[in-house]
Point group: C2
Chain length 202, copies 2
DNA sequence: GACAGCTTACTAACCGGTAAGTAGAGTCAG
DNA sequence: CTGACTCTACTTACCGGTTAGTAAGCTGTC
């Protein structure tokens, strides 16, 4: 017997969504088709129908991330550098709030050497896009004089990206580190938060 | 027939060394007893003899890291904050040079939710020790006026630790990021490297 | 009747883990 | 000095479960 599901790309989308959550909490090698099929109430082979190899699923996941991130940066274009920075911060906050996930770049760079080649290529491109966006934020912030810093925007972007990735992972062990680090980055970029959203670390 | 090996804790040490390399490049769930036993030329069960459960091996690995790190910080006590910082930097450089490994804290925090409880406890303690050392460096640097920064030493330590962990992982994709980030951190701590060891990023 | 979207039923390889046996070195009583 | 015993450090031979992956069949919709 066949049943419900009905809508066209429904199952495929559900697989991607579940795989994404599993990727961010367990890593690429840390989840299996079984885990997905069990939750979705389908058979293992149903997933192989949509994604013949696990690599196909992995690539699809990263490509979706890249499309999403491109839309995200597009939507942020008109904001000030300072506001863009806050949105960048919010991204990591969102991951953490959702079951202590870490950011995709963190998973992908950690597992990088064990990833299939096609996934490595996608991951590299994605990570470079995330890094580049951080650089653009730093550039814009300096141009608008809403940020002040010594050195190149390239280096600030690199620090921004690295720090958030590291802090998001370490937040699994020490919850305070994310807020602490963000405040310190703001301070280092000459951003005075005078009583705004988040309180300084005690 | 028995043979060679001879020395007392030889095999056990070889297992630990190999497992360590595998942990740093592939992650805890990314290596198996088979991989170790194959390289060592022993049977699978030989590893189970020394480490009945994989968890035992994992715990032993972290405990060894903790002992090593304690010796490291002890040996650095008398150095200036600035010199201690450089040695802290060198730690990550060493990992990267060795087969693009990432630091243990990176692996452990990434895999944290899937780690057995006993390993989580060890990992938490270890990571807190690494974080604390970064804070001590910041404190000493400020006390000696070899570093200058706004905000608390706690926050500087957190940024230092997070940034290096993130950058070391991202260096697998973008080799330059480690050097770039270190230079920027020095700049942010008011450290002028005037033509010293490493060139500034272009 | 063609096709999308599954299911059933399977495979080979590998996972961590265990039980039982054994070679060799060391210990000790007579 | 020797035979009996014990301990360490394995090996051989398994176990049940899980992994990704495949082939073939079925069903509802257009």
């Amino acid at each position: 017997m066949k049943m419900e599901s009905a809508v066209k790309g429904e199952t495929r989308k559900k697989i991607l969504d579940l795989a994404e959550a599993l990727l961010l909490s367990h890593g690429y090698h840390g989840f299996s088709y079984q885990q997905i099929s069990k939750v979705l109430g389908v058979r293992n082979a149903a997933i192989h129908y949509h994604f013949p190899h696990k690599t196909d699923l992995g690539v699809a996941l990263i490509q979706r991330y890249r499309r999403r991130f491109a839309r995200f940066t597009d939507s942020q274009q008109l904001l000030s550098g300072r506001e863009q920075l806050e949105r960048y911060f919010e991204l990591s906050e969102t991951y953490f709030a959702k079951d202590r996930q870490i950011c995709p770049s963190g998973v992908l760079s950690t597992e990088f050497p064990r990833l299939p080649e096609i996934m490595q290529a996608e991951a590299s491109a994605f990570i470079d896009e995330m890094r580049s966006w951080a650089v653009l934020i730093a550039l814009k912030g300096r141009a608008e004089a809403t940020m002040t810093y010594a050195g190149e925007a390239e280096a600030i972007g690199a620090v921004l990206f690295s720090t958030l990735q590291g802090a998001l992972q370490l937040a699994r062990i020490d919850e305070n580190i994310l807020v602490t680090v963000k405040n310190q980055i703001r301070a280092m970029l000459g951003i005075n938060m005078a009583g705004l959203h988040e309180k300084a670390d005690k």
